[in-house]
């Protein structure tokens, strides 16, 4: 492999990793807020209502878990796009 191609490969890998890491961070912050955040303020949120449930009960019983599921779905979908975008470059075919 020429030095030039090697440089490109390393750059593609670095960019891929940076974007993957940033997305992981965003999703973890969201996960922290919907899970731990709503429990921390559960007493304050209990005044609000969502489809008949008190908001804090709904978040603990269903909301946080559904957000987790959505986060995992977004992650799988976005990572596949990232992998495709950088995959060919990282293997030196671009």
């Amino acid at each position: 492999m020429s030095g030039d191609a090697r440089q490109r490969l390393l750059a593609a890998r670095a960019a891929h990793w940076q974007r993957a890491r940033r997305m992981t961070l965003y999703l973890l912050v969201l996960w922290l807020a919907t899970g731990f955040g709503t429990v921390f303020f559960a007493r304050e949120l209990a005044r609000f209502e969502l489809f008949g449930w008190p908001l804090s009960f709904y978040m603990a019983a269903q909301g946080a878990a559904l957000m987790s599921l959505a986060s995992i779905a977004v992650y799988a979908w976005r990572m596949r796009r990232l992998d495709r975008e950088y995959g060919s470059a990282a293997e030196g075919r671009a």
């Binding site: 891929h16 890491r21 429990v39 603990a60 599921l69 986060s71 995992i72 799988a76 992998d83």
Partner: protein
């Protein structure tokens, strides 16, 4: 590539057929019940038919190929891998006890729902895809390769520690599963507890012994279908009955305000207050006796002897004499024993003297501090369960079995999806059963108690699972007069809802499926750690593949029997053992796993120190803060319960890995290259 969709289609067809046959089996049994088949036979049929089914799948999938045996050939499609992992995950505790726990604890119980689902975000984002990219066989494999470049050649010290953690965590967990198998089998078929254990063990063994991961995966998919059907049918029935909506997850929102109104009425009801006052009186009596020790012990003993003598002297009826004899025989043997017993009774009575806590209110408490303490413990439990989930070897092992990294990510999605089908139903079931009992049982007449009460009250006479007694003598059931154990609620739900006995059998089969599927996965994780990591990688690196699989099978057999023996000893307080397993797993394995992927500077010494420190802090706190283990409940840090020790263990492990790594030499370039490889796009 074209192989995959065809394989997927074939599998889907098989499992659709299987589900259809299972439905037919249910209908046939329902018809037979109408024709008058005895209940015990239904119990037998469910138990033996399902165990025979799992064993058959095990025989069909038998294999001696290393890749098939350890990682199911790495060709399980994401959807099926998710379903199998969900069955692997849903343990006997979550199937049988969790809804009961929510019924008793209200909002506090939701910590288990949050903790046991949220952890999969950590699995999906931080660990599973990287493990799949690495593409070996076990969790110690990964840690040894990542940290093994430094001291110790092939990373034997890290591997040995990881194996130790895997075995310790999985073993405590598997004992709890086998215990549950024995319990269900003995309750529904009337066989002895230890016979039940060995029956269950036989089916676990046929399956994992012959086919390893491959057989386990396909059995677990079958088990998932049974446990899902078993959990949904009674819940949907109750949901239609009380909310005219067959989707319980949606329907119970409309019941919650009604339940809250009922609870408020019950808290003010004068008859309820009467009963609670009686419990207060009993508690005060025990408190007075405990305070009057040691004289009160002497006096009580003399009184018991006098009662017996009096009953004999006046030629009392046989039951009278028996009662007096029993009272004397169970009288505490010493002053210390009396103190422990009376304080326990005092607390139990005080507990029952409390008005019902509102189900949907977060953290009720008399003061702001008490309420805050409950919130902090809720958060700590959620934290431990989440990080424990992300470090349980039998779940992470599943990341290796899919065809690609992308499929692993999708498979974690399906895992959580299938778990949520059950886990979102659990809080609904708790509310539905509570509403049902509050509207039908409470306020009814003592002469017309439903039959399920006497059935479940007589299962375990020493510690009744259900108890109803007319405390204030008004002939009407008050809420304070009724007590139910968390473990009974799900098993009794079909009878509470008035469903035919077939559904009770189905629920028992579901509980059995949950326990067996988890036990399968755990036993394989243990035997793989021993055969692959200890025997092949450390003791005998040039063993032939044939020999490795044979050794693994023999070890599996040995571990299974040791676990069954441990379960047959009926270890005390099995639920806290499971909670301890989560804290220990999170504290020991999570820091090394995640920093291994996300921080290149983490090195061999750091990982070793971090694993030891996380484990030690976690164990130290458990011992220090649990009264049962020689500690004291006053010695807590920030009022956190010992069950949530991982809340200190995980950060301690993380910090230690970072500090020790920075103080020692950076890892060699081979480790860097490996990290680059697992991070790189597919």
């Amino acid at each position: 590539m074209s192989q995959q969709p065809r394989y997927f289609g074939k599998l889907s067809r098989y499992y659709l057929w299987y589900t259809g046959c299972f439905a037919l089996f249910l209908v046939a049994l329902a018809v037979l019940e109408q024709e008058g088949m005895p209940r015990l036979w239904i119990g037998y049929l469910f138990m033996f038919a399902t165990i025979a089914l799992y064993a058959t799948i095990g025989v069909i999938c038998r294999t001696s190929n290393v890749t098939e045996y350890y990682v199911a050939g790495r060709r399980v499609p994401a959807l099926f891998n998710g379903m199998a992992t969900a069955a692997d995950w849903i343990s006997a505790a979550s199937f049988i006890s969790l809804a009961g726990g929510l019924y008793l604890q209200g909002f506090d119980g939701l910590a288990f729902i949050m903790g046991w689902t949220g952890g999969f975000v950590l699995v999906a984002l931080l660990i599973a895809p990287y493990l799949r990219k690495f593409a070996q066989y076990t969790i110690p494999d990964f840690l040894a390769a990542r940290y093994g470049g430094g001291a110790g050649g092939r990373g034997a010290p890290v591997r040995a520690l990881a194996v130790g953690a895997t075995i310790l965590v999985s073993f405590t967990y598997v004992v709890a599963q086998i215990y549950a198998v024995g319990l269900i089998a003995s309750r529904f078929t009337g066989v002895d507890f230890s016979v039940g254990i060995f029956l269950g063990l036989a089916s676990i063994l046929v399956c994992s012994f012959l086919g390893g991961m491959r057989a386990i995966t396909w059995t677990q998919v079958a088990q998932y279908i049974i446990l899902l059907v078993a959990f949904l049918i009674p819940t949907m029935w109750l949901s239609v009955k009380h909310a005219d909506n067959p989707i319980p997850q949606v329907a119970y929102g409309s019941l919650l305000p009604k339940l809250t109104a009922l609870e408020a009425d019950l808290a003010r009801d004068p008859r309820e207050e009467q009963v609670r006052a009686e419990f207060h009186r009993r508690a005060a009596e025990y408190a007075a006796r405990a305070d009057g020790l040691p004289e009160s012990w002497e006096a009580g003993k003399v009184e018991a002897q006098r009662q017996l003598a009096a009953a004999r002297a006046r030629n009392g009826s046989l039951t009278e004499v028996r009662q007096a004899e029993r009272a004397l025989a169970t009288y505490p043997n010493s002053v210390d024993e009396a103190r422990a017993l009376w304080i326990e009774r005092r607390d139990a009575n005080l507990e029952r003297a409390k008005p019902p806590e509102p189900h949907a209110t977060p953290f009720p408490g008399p003061t702001k501090e008490a309420s805050d303490a409950r919130r902090n413990n809720f958060l700590a439990v959620v934290f431990c369960l989440m990080f424990g989930t992300a470090a349980l070897p039998h779940i992470l092992m599943r990341a290796y079995t899919t065809p690609s990294v992308h499929e692993t990510r999708v498979s974690v999605f399906w895992t959580l999806f299938f778990i949520l089908l059950v886990y979102l139903t659990i809080p609904a079931l708790a509310v539905l059963v509570k509403y049902d009992l509050y509207t039908s049982l409470i306020g009814s007449d003592f002469t017309s108690l439903p039959t399920w009460i006497s059935y479940w009250a007589n299962v375990d006479k020493a510690n009744p699972l259900v108890s109803v007694a007319d405390i204030n003598g008004d002939g009407i059931v008050q809420l304070a007069e009724f007590a139910i154990d968390a473990d009974v609620l799900v098993l009794a739900t079909p009878e509470i809802g008035g469903l035919p006995y077939v559904i009770s059998g189905l629920v028992a089969a579901g509980g059995l499926a949950a326990a067996l599927s988890t036990a399968d996965g755990l036993l394989l994780a243990i035997s793989n750690a021993l055969s692959h990591d200890v025997y092949y990688k450390i003791v005998q690196p040039n063993a032939s593949t044939q020999k490795r699989v044979t050794i693994s099978k023999l070890l599996l057999l040995a571990v299974a029997f040791i676990a069954a023996y441990a379960a047959s000893q009926k270890p005390a307080d099995i639920l806290s053992l499971v909670a301890a397993a989560f804290s220990l797993a999170g504290s020991t394995l999570f820091p090394a796993l995640v920093l291994g992927v996300f921080w290149k500077r983490a090195n061999h010494q750091g990982a070793l120190a971090g694993m030891v420190a996380g484990f030690a802090v976690c164990l130290f706190y458990m011992l220090r803060a649990s009264p049962g283990l020689g500690g004291s409940a006053l010695d807590t840090w920030f009022g956190i319960l010992p069950m949530a020790a991982g809340v200190f263990g995980v950060p301690a492990g993380m910090l230690t890995v970072i500090v020790v790594s920075l103080l020692t030499a950076p890892p060699p370039r081979t480790s860097d290259a490996m990290v680059d490889y697992i991070r790189a796009p597919e």
